[in-house]
């Protein structure tokens, strides 16, 4: 059953990439526990706007946990405290009346802050450009059934492909490393028969772009896996490491 709760929000406000930010405190009163976290921010924003205060900028689009656009660090945790849940799918019933909630953007050198809770994740796109695809041109494809894919491989590829590119793994990693994201894409394509011809090129290219973007290195903390809203496994990091070593040896 839904209830109404009152909260205190400490929100990171930063005007743009070059200005320095600080925390502002806002009262969020009468929040319905059935509301999502973003709906709670909507309510707060409407109140701010009515007072002539600039609303809190935050990224979002689908609001159903699939586009990967939303995300903030809530009380120190990327996407908040609930396991395998994006911020848009986190509901206020997970909080208690009177709670203070601290909300910050993803912080990492690879993700410069754009404004308030919004950061720039275009590094991920550049990493995909560096090899996160199968180089087939439109019209070149053979009949879909000409290459059967064992269910185990298909399932693994799908598990890895579930990554929504939200960046929570980077936000949660003590090293701000993008290994989980990168490995999810490498694995998705490298386990499939269709991905074999470009397997080595892919892993080398994507890792080198990842490094160039200023993300940290992985020291196997596994925080990323725990924060990932899609439960992407660090098994993929191991697979990428293995593919990388194999590619390096062959090179």
């Amino acid at each position: 059953m839904s209830r109404k709760i009152n909260l205190t929000l400490k929100v990171w406000r930063q005007k743009n990439a070059s200005s320095s930010g600080r925390f502002e405190t806002y009262e969020a009163k009468g929040i319905d526990t059935d509301a999502s976290f973003l709906e709670m921010l909507d309510v707060v924003n409407e109140q701010l706007e009515k007072r002539g205060v600039e609303p809190i900028a935050f990224d979002h689009d689908c609001r159903e946990g699939i586009c990967g656009m939303c995300g903030a660090v809530v009380n120190g945790m990327a996407h908040g405290p609930e396991k395998e849940t994006t911020l848009c799918q986190l509901h206020m019933r997970k909080f208690k009346d009177g709670d203070t909630i601290t909300i910050e953007p993803w912080r990492a050198n690879g993700f410069p802050i754009v404004r308030d809770l919004v950061c720039d994740r275009s590094a991920f796109d550049r990493i995909i450009s560096a090899g996160g695809f199968i180089g087939v041109r439109t019209g070149q494809a053979p009949e879909a059934h000409s290459v059967p894919v064992g269910k185990d491989k298909a399932d693994w590829a799908m598990d890895a492909a579930e990554c929504i590119g939200c960046g929570a793994c980077v936000a949660a990693c003590p090293n701000a490393s993008a290994m989980l994201f990168v490995s999810a894409k490498v694995t998705h394509l490298n386990v499939l028969p269709q991905g074999q011809p470009e397997k080595n090129k892919r892993v080398l290219g994507m890792v080198s772009q990842m490094d160039a973007e200023g993300f940290g290195n992985c020291s196997n903390h596994y925080e990323c896996e725990a924060a990932c809203p899609k439960g992407i496994s660090v098994k993929n990091i191991a697979k990428m490491n293995r593919d990388y070593l194999a590619a390096a040896i062959k090179a």
Binding site: E46, M69, T85, T138, I164
Partner: protein, 640 residues
């Protein structure tokens, strides 16, 4: 084939050969010349991403734009259920012809036959293409592709990737796009919102966009423009669409001369999570695939407040199975949605608001076991539980219809070009293939068919058939369009009223839902037609948008979109008012059979209605494209 000057340019010949012949008849651009052409593509959903990638592969220079921070986040990502293709892998009698037939019938005979046939024909290539890209479709133990069935079809032809088909297809198209970005064939512009279209010498030559981070207005010019900007379902405020879905791109093109066809054709999806509070910002779809195993029912008694497990079978009304025995729970969307409304209007709805029906998996779990159901729908069940805080393995889900898809859109000919030369419209943004109702799993198919396999041919024909004066982004038309966009932004910022943008949006949305939603009637539509201009007027005098135009300003972005919805909503209502018949998603209460089924009027309304803009507040001109049905004969749709 044409009326009032609307030439659909459908090629002659037997339906099965039209596309093949047309491909041969169209002019080609020779490979060396392709790179001399620049194509502007707005949108990176299935339609836009696949088009951009394919055109770049051919050698054209492509500039691609989207609102989100990454092309991968376009709204297509949210599609859950699947994509149709006439592969007949199940050996259950599917064929290109049957898919074509189902789609025309499903669209309630308001789609253009030739387009639908081409769509069915290309569906098989789409699956091949996506598999080659590494899209991890569900497979059987033998390693071959699995299928499921979807509403409105009696064969199993839907390919899927768990409950994330749209995501996987989009990631496939996105990866193809990013491959071309790396090769510098595509220049990618993210966090850009298109605010106007640039028309020079009667041809669409470019766009004006706002850089959403810096607020700067930029003009981009080329030789042809593609809009793949999705649907306008958010005119209803609450819908299953992503928050950034808008009508702005299409509407601004409309104001520059492109006709808007059938805006009243909106699809209400039967299986969504019911509305639960006024803070609610969007509705969540539960994939239609759930209807494969879930049974829909309401208590037979009005106002029955017992918990569902206390209601014995004899006191439940499985109304879809009862009314439509051959399709049962898989009846098409418009029919399922309306039936749910009927039950709730009759006081048999469930849940705290009485605006919900049960979708029950009890029998399927007993028959197949929880594991099987979990493997099929695990993520959907989890999503439901998270939102509603109820475990659907134990308690039946509660569902209610919600706005989901818009069949109407910019009018296009067989080549997917609008009446404005050079302006091509793909995917949900055009009106072409679904008539008055879209079958499940057909939107993804259409977006990809348009982008991968149609536009690469037809745009070449347009480019080869026309001469283009070289122009730059400093052309007077660009400057004019930029100035106009700037003026609009400045106005929005200067009003400094009392009501928020969302407040207006909610008001408009509720009005549209009440008067132009699942059921429509003359009085209601006329009332809406009175009220919308009034809301619009208040908006332009009492909206508040805090902040400036030279920075990331999300309220300003929304304000611009809502302003367009306020103009567009009027057209949608007007279209619904003029169409004095019921067809597909457009149900005019005055036009129904005795048992409450939609009654079409083929004698008077067998046309696509394309509206021409004639100024805000002034009555637009209607152009009719008469529809001919030579293959699938006009008949009353029956799913009994």
């Amino acid at each position: 084939m044409s009326s009032n000057g609307l030439d659909s340019r459908v090629p002659s010949g037997p339906i099965a050969e039209k596309w093949t012949r047309h491909k041969f008849d169209m002019k080609l651009v020779n490979p060396a010349n392709k790179r001399k052409y620049t194509i502007i593509c707005v949108g990176t959903g299935l339609a836009g991403a696949s088009a951009s990638a394919s055109l770049s592969e051919l050698g054209y220079k492509v500039k691609t734009f989207c609102i989100q921070d990454s092309p991968r986040r376009a709204h297509s990502i949210a599609a859950q259920g699947g994509i149709n293709a006439a592969k007949n892998y199940q050996n259950d009698g599917d064929s290109v012809y049957r898919l074509f037939y189902d789609t025309v019938k499903g669209g309630d005979f308001r789609a253009r036959e030739a387009n639908v046939y081409r769509l069915a024909e290309l569906s098989v290539n789409i699956i091949d293409q996506c598999v080659a890209q590494g899209v991890p479709f569900a497979r059987e133990y033998g390693g071959l592709l699995d299928n499921r069935s979807f509403g409105g079809a009696q064969v199993s032809r839907t390919f899927y990737a768990r409950g994330q088909t749209g995501q996987q297809l989009l990631l496939g198209a996105y990866s193809a796009l990013m491959k071309e970005v790396a090769k510098k064939g595509v220049e990618l512009y993210t966090r850009r919102e298109m605010l106007d279209i640039i028309v020079i010498d009667g041809k669409a030559r470019g766009i004006v966009v706002r850089n959403l981070i810096t607020g700067k207005l930029e003009s981009h010019v080329g030789d042809a423009v593609i809009l793949a900007t999705g649907g306008y379902g958010n005119v209803f405020y609450l819908s299953t669409n992503a928050k950034a879905c808008n009508v702005t791109a299409a509407w601004r093109a409309h104001k520059k001369g492109a006709y808007f066809a059938n805006p009243c054709y909106t699809q209400i999806h039967p299986t969504c999570i019911p509305v639960h509070g006024d803070y609610q910002s969007k509705l969540t779809l539960m994939s239609e695939s759930l209807r494969n195993d879930g049974r829909i029912w309401v208590p037979k008694k009005q106002g029955d407040t017992r918990s569902p497990d206390q209601i014995p079978d004899a006191e439940r009304d499985y109304y879809l199975e009862r009314k439509y025995p051959s399709f049962g729970n898989l009846a098409p969307r418009d029919i399922s949605s309306r039936s749910a409304k009927e039950q709730c209007d009759a006081g048999r709805g469930v849940g705290s608001t009485g605006q919900a029906v049960y979708l029950d998996f009890r029998d399927a779990i007993n028959r197949l076991g929880k594991d099987v159901i979990e493997a099929r729908y695990g993520n959907l069940f989890q999503m439901y539980d998270r939102i509603v805080d109820n475990d659907p393995y134990k308690v039946p889900m509660m569902i209610y219809p919600a706005v989901h898809y818009t069949m109407g859109g910019l009018w296009v000919d067989y080549n997917l070009m609008s009446n404005l030369p050079g302006l091509h419209v793909l995917g949900e943004a055009n009106f072409s293939d679904h008539g008055a109702n879209r079958l499940g799993a057909s939107a993804l198919m259409q977006g990809l068919a348009d982008g991968y396999f149609v536009i690469p041919y037809t745009i070449g024909h347009y480019l080869a058939s026309n001469k283009f004066e070289p122009i730059g982004a400093d052309h007077a038309e660009c400057k004019n369009a930029e100035a106009e966009a700037k003026k609009r932004i400045d106005t929005l910022l200067s009003i400094k009223g009392k009501r928020t943008v969302d407040d207006f949006h909610r008001e408009l949305g509720l009005l549209c839902w009440d008067k132009c939603g699942m059921g429509r009637n003359k009085a209601g539509l006329e009332e809406a037609l009175q009220k919308i201009p009034a809301i619009r007027e208040e908006f332009w005098s009492n909206v508040t948008v805090v902040g400036s135009g030279e920075e990331l300003n999300q309220s300003l972005e929304r304000a611009g979109r809502v302003a367009d919805f306020l103009e567009f909503g009027e057209l949608m209502v007007r279209d619904a008012l003029h169409r004095e018949e019921s067809c597909g998603g457009h149900f005019r209460e005055e036009h129904q059979t005795e048992d409450g089924e939609a009654k079409r009027d083929d004698a008077n309304f067998c046309y696509a209605g394309a509206w021409e803009f004639s100024g805000i507040g002034s009555t637009p001109n209607l152009h009719k494209e008469q529809l001919e049905f030579n293959e699938v004969h006009l008949a009353t749709r029956s799913y009994k």
